[in-house]
């Protein structure tokens, strides 16, 4: 497999702020690469530099080994986090307009079917719901049969059902061999969709790799969760990493039995204790020492 995209030492500086600080990564063709991090981490700026819509202060972007240029614009599909479409145009007119901007053309009817836009084709863009707009934005990103698709926070603001439908859609696109670059602050989304991830915080990549490998390398055990209010004594003496997040205490444990035994005298009841696999959110908390900022 070739390297579809390579970002080298990207920097974006605004007056008084370094939004992106030396970001480098490679994306293999046909994979889904996730750029994760809380709001303000620099994900969108990084991706917009790569997309060519925001000029970088420093750094280079390579597309299939060449500096990203005309070919990249022709072959990339982009779904922006915040964008607008022309008013008074219908869904079909919008798709046709964008398709005419490219030399490469995808089968529009297939995209319409894949993105479940069949019943909305004659609807004015302004009258679409949030989920419908996101599906249209994705369809617009696909009109040129892209080899590389950028999805920037595609499910922000969607209800859980719409999010899961969107994931299915993305998986279908990836199954066709399309390379996907996904930015999200939903760690579960990244875990479901991404083959590789890079976690960003404060403009830097702080970890990267396959999600399961990252978790395996970092954790050897399970997470015990219990409500903070159930604790009758402090946790001094428990030899595990402890986080407190939104009223929940999380304990990383390599020996769950021993941990539960140690916890028993400190909690009023074990009824509300949960035991689960560590996830990317735990990894993020572990790496940065703070929770995902809203």
């Amino acid at each position: 497999m070739q390297i579809a995209l390579e970002a080298r030492n990207l920097v974006k500086q605004y007056p008084g702020v370094v939004a992106v600080n030396g970001v480098s990564f490679k994306v293999t063709e046909g994979t889904c690469f996730g750029l994760l991090g809380p709001n303000g981490a620099g994900k969108t700026t990084t991706v917009e530099i790569i997309e060519g819509v925001t000029p970088a202060t420093a750094g280079e972007v390579y597309y299939f080994g060449e500096p990203a240029g005309r070919r990249f614009r022709e072959e990339a599909g982009i779904q922006f986090q915040n964008t607008a479409l022309q008013d008074f145009l219908t869904v079909r007119e919008t798709l046709e307009m964008f398709q005419q901007l490219y030399d490469r053309h995808a089968d529009l009817e297939r995209i319409i079917e894949d993105c479940s836009l069949g019943e909305l084709l004659h609807r004015d863009n302004r009258k679409l719901s949030g989920g419908q707009r996101q599906r249209l934005f994705l369809a617009v990103a696909l009109v040129n049969e892209p080899r590389l698709v950028f999805l920037d926070e595609p499910t922000t603001g969607l209800d859980p059902q719409a999010r899961r439908n969107f994931w299915t859609l993305v998986q279908r696109i990836q199954a066709n061999g399309t390379t996907i670059i996904l930015t999200t602050h939903y760690m579960d989304e990244a875990h479901v969709l991404c083959d590789e991830i890079a976690i960003m915080d404060a403009g830097k990549i702080i970890a990267s790799g396959a999600p399961d490998a990252l978790l395996r390398n970092r954790y050897d055990g399970l997470v015990i969760e219990l409500p903070l209010e159930d604790l009758s004594r402090d946790l001094d003496g428990i030899d595990h990493v402890v986080y407190e997040n939104q009223g929940i205490v999380e304990i990383m444990s390599t020996d769950v039995s021993a941990s539960l035994e140690a916890l028993a005298p400190r909690v009023g009841s074990l009824n509300r204790i949960k035991i689960r696999q560590p996830n990317l959110e735990d990894l993020f908390l572990d790496l940065t020492g703070h929770s995902l900022r809203p």
């Binding site: 614009r73 982009i78 964008t83």
Partner: protein, 341 residues
Amino acid sequence: MLKRIYAVFLARNREFVRDRGTLAWNILMPVILVFGLAFVFGGEGRSQYTVGVLQSASEIDPGEHPFLESRYIDFVPVTDEDDGFRKVERHRLDLLVRFGDERRYWVNPESPTGYFAERLLLQSDAEVGGQMQKAQISGDPIRYVDWVLPGILGMNMMFSCLFGVGYVVVRYRKNGFLKRLRATPLRPLEFIVAQVASRLVLVLIVTAFVYFATHVILDTRMDGSYLTLLLVTVVGCISMVSLGLLIAARVTSEELAGGLLNMISWPMMILSGVWFSLEGAGPAVQGLAKAFPLTHILDSARAVMLDGATLPDIAPSMIMLTLLSLAFLALGAFYFRWGPD
């Protein structure tokens, strides 16, 4: 309720004050307008009538006749009789007067301002014996509607081009649509050409419809070629759209864009001769008017419609409009930004 009103009031004020460009514009605009209007209509106040005085000397002697001492009338020396007649016919002069031994005046019977200027002349003349003779201008007098129609069509074209392109591009930039387009293979020049072409077609259809409807209903005068008039409209429209694109090249605030577009369109409307002729205005004002595309559009359109001018006759204005369009497009393309960054 007051709390909610105050919250929204405060938020809007903060938005306004922190949008530096718009704030500066709101302070500058009235200042520019006051000084600009003072410059254009300065002196003893805005004159109501323009009267040509047929004489060989370049200076007018106010002592020659009491009428020449009237206030709020611009007296313009006219050395060429035929030129004076043409200006009266075309509503550029309200009246043409010759003093001296054989006092005579010419007025366009279709001119409302000419009618009042004539009354004032005859009143003044009565003070010195009432010798003034009325003379006819040969040929069909041009009605005010014939004269003003190109002005109204040109003004409509100007607003449609400037706001229909400039304002819309700023809105596209603000809501991120331009950013979306930037991520496609579309080049800035392609986008600009598409905007020009789109507005050109729309304006041509609307202008043609208004023109022919007026022509049929009011039987307006058309002495020249429709093809030449179409060329004037096309070249004029391109220059206006280009100007709109130049203004919108970087602006990200609709309020600022609106201010800038008004700053361009209002002086053009006043100085380009939409409603009244600037005959008699100072050379600086007339020079300024020549820098506006609308002046050249109206001069050319009137020449074609009222004088039957051909393409060679209006070539200087066409060349000027083309040069202005090229300059606006080049600057617009140079300064153009897809996004606010």
